[in-house]
């Protein structure tokens, strides 16, 4: 009995010693974060320069609009706003939000209103609430005149006529005549029709092909027409909304995809609207598939629409255009094939591709898209011969298709990086499905996968 007790005690003691040793040496959980949650960012806020940007992510549309307007009013100082660039995401009830904008903004304020896909960007980051986001830029600075014009594309005889009518309305609304060419035009339209180039032709008929028409097409992450274009008076789904801007201040802009041009090129022999049927005399999808190394056809049936967009966003087509003097420019058009195209071998595109177009395969990485967040505003400042401190405000457009190609963590960095470069210059960024801008010396184009920014200086 005594012998057994001694043995049990010795065994227990040994187990305790070994156990204590293992416990002591066993590492503790190291997953504890090294840093606490982020502190609130100190925004590069500028106040009292006659321009203010406000935003809100409140669930209630009325409260969200009120918060955004109040924030913008506080930031713009004592100036009286005369123009509102009003944006909301497609997740809200559009009529409710638009109604609140009209109700809460003084009737004297012109409204250029549009929807944004996914979220809205400002100096303080990417805003995307539980329901959605609302943002507004109020401009009350002197030496700036605005005139808005909007037409229903479905009601116009031709897209060219729609363009002409909208720009004429905008010029008239600004109290100017057609002889007074605006410094630039802010454009917003429907993503549905694919006749944006014709619309731009119509605008060019009135103000010339060298006037900057910059903006983006409304859009969302589905093909449901939840997008809107709206002014003080009217709301449209298939509208063309233009704002003619007159100023004696400096204006700078950038409109870039920044993609590399590869050695793969061809001629679109057969196309209609946004669908290319033949490239180099062969089915367009087969040629594009070969250009991408031959793996695309397998992916078309396996990948989701969004995942497929991620692939094509980094390998778009570049359409080559030239002016009368032979000056060459390339703008990006994103292919968006679907499983149906495995039968007809056609290649649907996110922008129109006229028959006979000369195309090149472009290539990029998501790093390229991220770096545009700083490079685009820098280019805009250079173009406008101004420093960030000289700038009054900016309007930025980012393509949703390009954003698809970014890892989930990266998109929110874009407005922060932009804010780092613009050093607090108020800006508002819209996420679009098709971007319009000027290939300098050639013409305004409707492209995809582009980031653009227009900045107006203080001087």
């Amino acid at each position: 009995m005594k012998k057994s007790l001694t043995f049990a005690l010795a065994l227990t003691l040994t187990a305790v010693v070994v156990g204590a040793f293992i416990y002591q040496a066993w590492p503790q959980n190291a997953k504890t974060p090294l840093v606490p949650p982020a502190e609130k960012k100190v925004a590069n806020e500028r106040v009292g320069e006659g321009v203010g940007v406000g935003w809100s992510v409140q669930d209630d549309p009325a409260a969200a609009v009120a918060e955004a307007i109040n924030m913008a009013r506080q930031r713009m100082g004592t100036a009286t706003p005369k123009f509102a660039y009003a944006v909301f995401t497609v997740d809200y009830d559009p009529d409710q939000v638009i109604g609140e904008f009209r109700k809460q903004l003084d009737p004297s304020i012109r409204i250029h209103g549009l929807t944004s896909a996914y979220g809205i960007m400002t100096n303080e980051g990417l805003h995307k609430g539980k329901v959605g986001a609302v943002a507004i830029m109020l401009i009350g600075s002197d030496r700036l005149d605005f005139g808005t014009g909007m037409v229903d594309l479905d009601q116009a005889k031709t897209p060219e006529e729609a363009g002409q009518a909208a720009i004429r309305q905008a010029i008239k609304d600004a109290g100017r005549t057609e002889k007074d060419i605006p410094n630039f035009v802010i454009i917003n339209g429907t993503p549905r029709r694919g006749d944006d180039m014709e619309v731009l032709d119509g605008i060019a008929d009135v103000i010339g092909k060298d006037t900057l028409v910059i903006g983006g097409t409304s859009g969302n992450d589905t093909n449901d027409p939840t997008w809107r274009q709206f002014t003080r008076q009217e709301t449209l789904t298939n509208g063309l909304l233009l704002t003619a801007v007159y100023t004696d201040r400096k204006v700078g802009w950038a409109f870039e995809s920044d993609f590399k041009v590869t050695d793969k090129s061809g001629i679109v022999n057969k196309s209609q609207g946004k669908i290319a049927y033949e490239i180099n005399g062969r089915p367009a999808l087969d040629v594009y598939n070969e250009w991408l190394g031959g793996g695309l056809l397998n992916q078309i049936s396996k990948l989701s629409f969004i995942d497929l967009m991620k692939v094509t966003a980094l390998n778009p087509l570049g359409r080559v255009i030239r002016n009368d003097e032979g000056l060459e420019g390339i703008y990006t058009i994103q292919p968006s094939p679907t499983p149906d195209n495995l039968k007809d071998r056609a290649l649907p595109l996110a922008a129109a591709m006229p028959q006979g177009s000369e195309i090149r395969l472009l290539a990029a990485t998501w790093q390229t898209i991220m770096n545009r967040a700083e490079n685009i505003p820098r280019q805009a400042f250079i173009k406008g011969a101004m420093t960030p401190q000289d700038a009054l405000f900016g309007i930025m457009i980012i393509c949703r298709g390009a954003a698809y190609a970014l890892p989930e963590t990266e998109l929110p960095k874009i407005p922060v990086l932009t804010d780092n470069v613009v050093e607090g210059m108020p800006f508002i960024g819209v996420i679009s499905r098709g971007e319009q801008g000027l290939l300098e010396g050639i013409r305004n184009v409707n492209a995809n996968l582009v980031e653009s920014m227009v900045v107006v200086g203080q001087k």
Binding site: A25, N29, L34, P36, E39, T409, D419, N420
Partner: protein, 299 residues
């Protein structure tokens, strides 16, 4: 037998204690080595990326993809690019961008061209920082890591060391048992031999092949047993001799006794004859007396 367990216990307890201490210091050494190796890896990575960031600054191209690849590491915590004002210019997590870096790690040296490791958190994690100049501005690249992978390494090291220690201990204990038992077996023979001899089997002898002290003892034991057996034999012989003498004397005594008995019988027979005669004589005398009486009467 109690000696064997005592010897084994006395030998294994120090071995166990030694194994624990050896394992502890071995683990400490291995963990230190692994930790230094991991920190060195992060240092190399941070230096490489800081260089890429510096080059990227001049080319207006941040190396987003290489920076993003850092986040795949299991023990990655964060990377920050700090601008001249001390704000986080770029981070893996956009929530930290624009915030004051020093508010998280005030101990990090922001002097130009400095680099180093600042320990933070548990299990040796921390921040490797590298300060550099680009575009006439001071920048700093910070790479935070928890050394979570060191945890796995430590766990492996602890388990392997404890297992090795336990197996070694068991092997040593079992080996000791057999060695000691082997060494102690002559003693067992001695004990058994003593018992056997005590039982009277004086011809029992012990194996003396082992040599050593136990061999000497066995030889001495056998010698002692030999002597005891010899003395016993002598004693036994003397007993036999005495017994024979006694038996001879006894036989003679028996013969003499028989002779005496025979003589006594003869005497008894003579005596009986004599007594018979005597009795006859008495009878005759009686008859004589009766006759005399009769005769007297008649006479």
């Amino acid at each position: 037998m109690r000696t064997l367990p005592r010897i084994i216990l006395g030998a294994t307890v120090p071995i166990l204690v030694g194994a624990i201490f050896t394992s502890y210091f071995s683990i400490y050494q291995q963990v230190s080595c692994a930790r230094s190796g991991l920190i060195a890896q992060y240092q190399d990575t941070a230096n490489l990326l800081a260089k890429e960031v510096e080059v990227g600054y001049y080319e207006s191209k941040w190396p987003f993809e290489n920076l993003a690849s850092l986040t795949q590491k299991s023990d990655f915590q964060f990377w920050w690019i700090i601008d001249e004002s001390g704000h986080i210019y770029l981070s893996n997590d956009s929530a930290y961008m624009g915030t004051d870096a020093a508010s998280y790690f005030p101990q990090i040296n922001r002097q130009p061209d400095q680099e180093g490791f600042v320990s933070a958190g548990r299990n040796g994690g921390g921040v490797y920082f590298k300060n550099f100049e680009a575009g006439q501005k001071q920048w700093s690249f910070w790479l935070g890591f928890s050394l979570a992978s060191l945890n796995q390494i430590i766990q492996r090291i602890v388990l392997v060391n404890v297992l090795v220690a336990l197996v070694s201990f068991l092997v040593i204990a079992v080996a000791l048992y057999f060695i000691i038992r082997q060494a102690m077996s002559p003693l067992d023979d001695l004990v058994r031999g003593t018992r056997t001899i005590a039982e009277g089997k004086l011809d029992h002898r012990i194996d003396t092949q082992g040599g050593g002290e136990f061999g000497y003892l066995a030889t001495a034991f056998n010698s002692m047993a030999e002597k005891v057996q010899g003395q016993y034999r002598e004693l036994e012989a003397k007993v036999k001799e005495r017994t024979a003498e006694l038996e001879k004397a006894s036989a003679q005594l028996a013969v003499e006794k028989k002779s005496a008995l025979e003589k006594a019988g003869e005497l008894e027979r003579v005596n009986a004859v004599m007594i018979g005669r005597e009795l006859k004589m008495v009878d005759l005398k009686g008859e004589n007396d009766a006759l005399k009486k009769q005769l007297g009467d008649k006479l």
